[in-house]
């Protein structure tokens, strides 16, 4: 469970079925179990109006199979995040009024999908989220503006400019990223050892 820290740091809930004519569910491998749990609590005909979009490391893996067993009206699996986000934008362009959005999985998945959904003009009240899986963070280096996915250490070395970055809790929904700020800018001879903290 992600605890609230500062007010820009997002927190997440538990997916519950909502009334609506159409349901768009987005998950990564970690989030697929949350979709399965949601279906278990949903009305029997929920699957008939459900579209599931997943990003998975293994298109023929257990998580993909579990989503397939839910028999959604549409099931699309993508092999990486950019492909999923493109597909999501396409689905949203076709979506009707009142579509309910469910995002489940790691924070990079929720954050990046959320950005596409908001840009499509969906009201935030129609979006539900549930965090599952690792606490790995997507981080933007405030100095070179490069992004890193799946950051697990504090501090982290910027993959682009090489500075040692303190990963703040300060989070931008527009960038779907936490802010990384040089941890030893005042005295670069101070080396702060990295610890694995976002697991």
């Amino acid at each position: 469970m992600i605890e609230p820290t500062i007010l820009s740091r997002p927190t997440y809930g538990t997916l519950e079925p909502r009334p609506g004519r159409a349901h768009l569910l987005i998950a990564d491998d970690a989030g697929s179990a949350a979709i399965v749990d949601l279906f278990a609590r949903a009305p029997a005909d929920f699957h008939e109006s459900a579209t599931i979009l997943s990003v998975t490391k293994d298109l023929s893996g257990d998580e993909a199979a579990a989503l397939h067993r839910l028999s959604p009206a549409t099931l699309t699996a993508c092999p990486d995040m950019p492909a999923m986000l493109n597909t999501l934008a396409g689905l949203l362009a076709e979506a009707g009024m009142g579509v309910q959005i469910y995002l489940a999985g790691t924070e990079p998945l929720i954050g990046q999908a959320m950005r596409v959904v908001i840009e499509a003009g969906i009201d935030h009240s129609a979006i539900a989220t549930e965090h599952r899986g690792s606490l790995a963070r997507r981080v933007q280096c405030v100095h070179c503006k490069g992004f890193m996915d799946e950051v697990t250490t504090q501090p982290v070395t910027c993959a682009h400019c090489g500075l040692s970055l303190f990963v703040r809790d300060h989070y931008s929904r527009r960038l779907a990223a936490f802010q990384g700020v040089c941890i030893n800018a005042e005295d670069q001879s101070e080396i702060v050892p990295a610890e694995e903290v976002f697991r």
């Binding site: 500062i6 007010l7 820009s8 100095h143 802010q179 700020v181 005295d187």
Partner: protein, 346 residues
């Protein structure tokens, strides 16, 4: 009134200085011998002649040099000026506010002639003479917020108002005390203030948002905020922290007087007429400690404020590395005499 604009720099050789008159008009931010957060907002009414509060947008001896420094920042990092698409109208609102106010308050420096939508703007200190159609961005050399931001001291944030909240949806930010417009753009009031310690728990932001969202047109408000900066550097952005962070290591008892600067933000809040947005100019004033202690009241008070600052604020204001040294240096300029109320010199 004639202003002699200084030729000076805010980087590299740091030739910035305040004239004797500039020192006396500095907006010293402490009205008593201690500091804690408060919603210290007051009406932005015209103040004493010669003070920084005399006019809505203060123009001082640093104007031309500050605009040159801004141009250097923007040349390296164009994202310091951004406006989300829905903020175009608010940007024009702001351009109008600045042009009409400055042309009224400083007729020898600025002239605005309007004929319906056809406007003619003259900015003599910067050598600008432009004709454009109000509301039509293609008739300006750059978008309206950037255009007026390049001609107005201080940072400028345009805050959209919706859902009983304020949203940082546009800005020109090159003289900031360590926050990033590029990261914070699109955030609401509570989100962009999220990293500030203590104040949330004290309810400061809850009270402030109630006040700010009800500011009416024609009744601007103001507050002062402060921090310390090593060297008279305007661009203390997080983006460039690796450039200015090492300055902190150069602070020694022998260099404090010359290098340490009290950095004060005169923050004002104005309702804009067409967009109903708020504009939030954040004007930065710098005063080096050697100059500060020439005003006995300020010398005494500065010592007492810095000495008694809560540890969280020592950290947040970035002075952990040299706080004890500062207190010791300032103590030598405090004879223990009582100070008079208010911010102005005796």
């Amino acid at each position: 009134m004639t202003i002699t604009f200084r030729t000076e720099t805010f980087r590299d050789d740091f030739t910035f200085r305040n004239s004797p008159a500039g020192i006396r008009r500095f907006p010293f931010p402490f009205h008593e011998d201690g500091y804690m957060y408060s919603v210290n907002i007051e009406p932005h009414r015209p103040g004493a002649p010669g003070s920084v509060f005399e006019h809505g947008f203060d123009v001082d001896e640093h104007y031309v040099a500050e605009m040159a420094d801004r141009a250097l920042v923007l040349a390296e990092d164009p994202l310091r000026c951004q406006a989300l698409p829905h903020m175009d109208l608010a940007s024009w609102d702001y351009l109008e506010l600045v042009m009409t106010t400055k042309a009224r308050d400083y007729p020898e420096l600025f002239t605005l002639e309007t004929d319906g939508d056809r406007w003619h703007w003259t900015n003599r200190p910067l050598g600008i003479d432009d004709r454009f159609t109000f509301g039509v961005t293609s008739t300006l050399p750059c978008p309206p917020l950037e255009y007026i931001g390049r001609q107005t001291q201080g940072d400028h944030c345009l805050l959209d108002q919706r859902d009983n909240n304020l949203w940082m949806d546009a800005g020109m930010v090159t003289t900031q005390a360590d926050w990033s417009l590029d990261f914070d753009i699109g955030m609401n009031f509570f989100e962009w203030h999220a990293p500030v310690p203590l104040a949330h728990e004290m309810g400061v932001f809850q009270r402030a948002i109630k006040f700010l969202t009800s500011i009416p047109q024609g009744q601007p408000s103001r507050r002062l905020n402060w921090t310390l900066t090593v060297n008279p550097r305007l661009d203390t952005s997080p983006e460039n922290y690796p450039k200015w962070g090492p300055d902190k290591l150069t602070v020694t008892p022998d260099t404090i007087g010359e290098k340490m600067h009290l950095r004060v933000e005169l923050q004002t809040f104005w309702r804009l007429p067409r967009s109903n947005a708020l504009v939030f100019p954040i004007r930065c004033y710098l005063l080096r400690f050697d100059d500060l202690v020439t005003i006995p009241k300020w010398a005494r008070r500065m010592h007492r404020v810095i000495r008694d600052l809560p540890p969280e604020l020592v950290t947040y204001k970035g002075m952990s590395r040299y706080h004890p040294m500062l207190v010791e240096w300032l103590a030598a300029h405090d004879d223990g005499a009582p100070t008079s109320p208010g911010i102005f010199p005796d």
